[in-house]
């Protein structure tokens, strides 16, 4: 067995797989359950007030294990989530990353104040493409930097900035976040997309557009991670289309230190983390690598 352990900003992950924000992560009990196999678990993105999310349909299944979603950030709100975090912390078997979201810089700060120090790290969802205004935080280096630096003043734990692909140049935004004090980057969020049911001629999602995730997103994620790795020194949680151990290896070779997974966990349930970290282990063994950490950034060597 290869050494799967990863050091992510001082946190020890038992393997590089991380539950991505927004999937399965809204109750303390589920976070605990997934922490059995995942190297780290990210909570749903928590806003200041409870949100019902968008009306259904909020999801479109695409061929080839890809999804379109416009959940609309349903979450119980920071206040109600205190209790869930308490449950999660009592017995979680891997670090908990608290995803915070806001509809203004100020709201990000308030959410971070309330729950940002109760997990092991914070992730700032600067790039949700499915709610009005939230995508813009990661479309401007200045705004992204402002959120990061203000939250950094409050939170004692490592802070990750989560970026999306729908920008002119993602590495510019990552650099701005690094300069503003971010301890890491999570890349990427979903890509804005839309699907129409041709039988009825209707847009499927109530929100009209949604975010593309899963296999279709992976080559885009790999490119973003590769670009970011070339331009920053802080670690990257690579996320996008990881459905197998070899997919995880690809994102790590591109520059990821750990690997987030959303769609895989949707397709397969909590079992995905166990399977994929096993597959990664087998891959490392077959290719003669001693540890998962060796993979990070390998494709940059000429």
């Amino acid at each position: 067995m290869a050494n799967l352990r990863i050091n992510l900003c001082g946190l020890t992950l038992k393997n590089p797989t991380v539950l991505a924000a927004g999937i399965l992560g809204n109750t303390g009990e589920i976070l605990k359950r997934i922490s059995k196999h995942a190297g780290a678990v990210t909570t749903k993105s928590i806003s200041l007030k409870p949100r019902d999310g968008h009306e259904t349909p909020n999801i479109v299944e695409l061929e080839n294990k890809s999804l379109l979603n416009a959940m609309g950030l349903p979450n119980p709100g920071a206040e109600n989530f205190l209790q869930e975090l308490k449950i999660a912390k009592s017995g979680a078997e891997s670090p908990i990353i608290v995803s915070c979201v806001g509809f203004s810089v100020d709201e990000f700060v308030k959410v971070a104040e309330k729950i940002g120090n109760l997990g092991d790290a914070v992730e700032l969802d600067l790039s949700c493409p499915n709610t009005k205004g939230t995508l813009e935080f990661s479309q401007s280096p200045e705004v992204a930097a402002e959120v990061v630096s203000k939250v950094k003043k409050i939170v004692k734990k490592p802070v990750f900035a989560k970026l999306g692909p729908n920008v002119n140049k993602i590495s510019e935004i990552a650099v701005a976040c690094e300069k503003a004090g971010a301890d890491g980057i999570t890349a990427i969020n979903t890509m804005p997309a839309l699907a129409i049911d041709v039988e009825t001629g209707k847009v499927i999602l109530t929100n009209l557009s949604g975010g593309l995730s899963g296999a279709a997103l992976r080559p885009v994620a790999v490119r973003c991670i590769y670009d970011i790795y070339e331009n920053v020194r802080i670690p990257v949680i690579g996320t996008g289309g990881v459905l197998s151990g070899e997919d995880a290896a690809e994102l790590m070779m591109a520059g990821a230190t750990a690997v987030g997974m959303g769609t895989a966990a949707i397709n397969e349930g909590p079992n995905a983390f166990k399977r994929i970290s096993n597959e990664l282990d087998k891959f490392l063994h077959r290719k003669g690598y001693k540890s998962a950490a060796e993979l990070t950034g390998l494709a940059h060597k000429r």
Binding site: T27, D52, T56, N80
Partner: protein, 265 residues
Amino acid sequence: MTIQRSFELVDIVKETPKVSTFFFKFNKIAEPGQFLMVWVPGSEEVPMSVAYSDKKSIAISVAAIGPASNSLHAKKIGDYIGLRGPFGKPFTLKIGTKRIALVAGGYGAAPLGLFAERIKSSHKEVQIDSFLGARTREDLLFVKRLEKVSTVYISTNDGSTGHKGLVIEPFEQELKKKKFDCVYTCGPEMMEKAIFDICAKNNLDLQASLERIMKCGFGICGSCMMDDLILCIDGPVVEMRELKRLKEFGVSHRDKAGVLQYWKK
């Protein structure tokens, strides 16, 4: 490609004043207890148990009670309706089973009806007692369907037919006379809770199909979480062993935001 979303509505059968069964051209086979996410284009998407399923078609039996269900009742044959799934864990029969009880409230008769039919086609030896309850005679669902494959016990709240009172009462009665290897229930949570209490007391095996708000069907939205179960994946059918340790069963559920809410008793 978008995995085919909408399917042709090929037949509608009125079952009771409130409930109709909708048949669709559909080529995936569902197990009894599994559900579909059903979307009426232009309206919402909600979960519905599978009432019939074969290689070519699938059906759901829907009670018209609110926006989503009413919008489906407004549809005609030839219209296209969005279907995703089937999702979730079905009812299962353990090896060596000789006699089972089905306890249904309302549209719970749909998945249990399908389950009884499937058992009879592959395990003829199994004895089935079905307990059906409704408010009044005309609301009873799938009486004839279940009579073909099981012994049926009927209860109505108003006594318009069968036993007057709750479905639980004839069930308790039969329990004294027969040995059920397993009890299967689908209906309002308080009814299911009562059945659970009886089964727990009598040391009977049980499978209950639980209902929660389900906005996605496969682990995203968070509304169907129940303790550490994700009901759309780990359920909707939950076994006795799990039911016993669930703190939220019969007590609380989550709203659309995922906030814990307590059932009004």
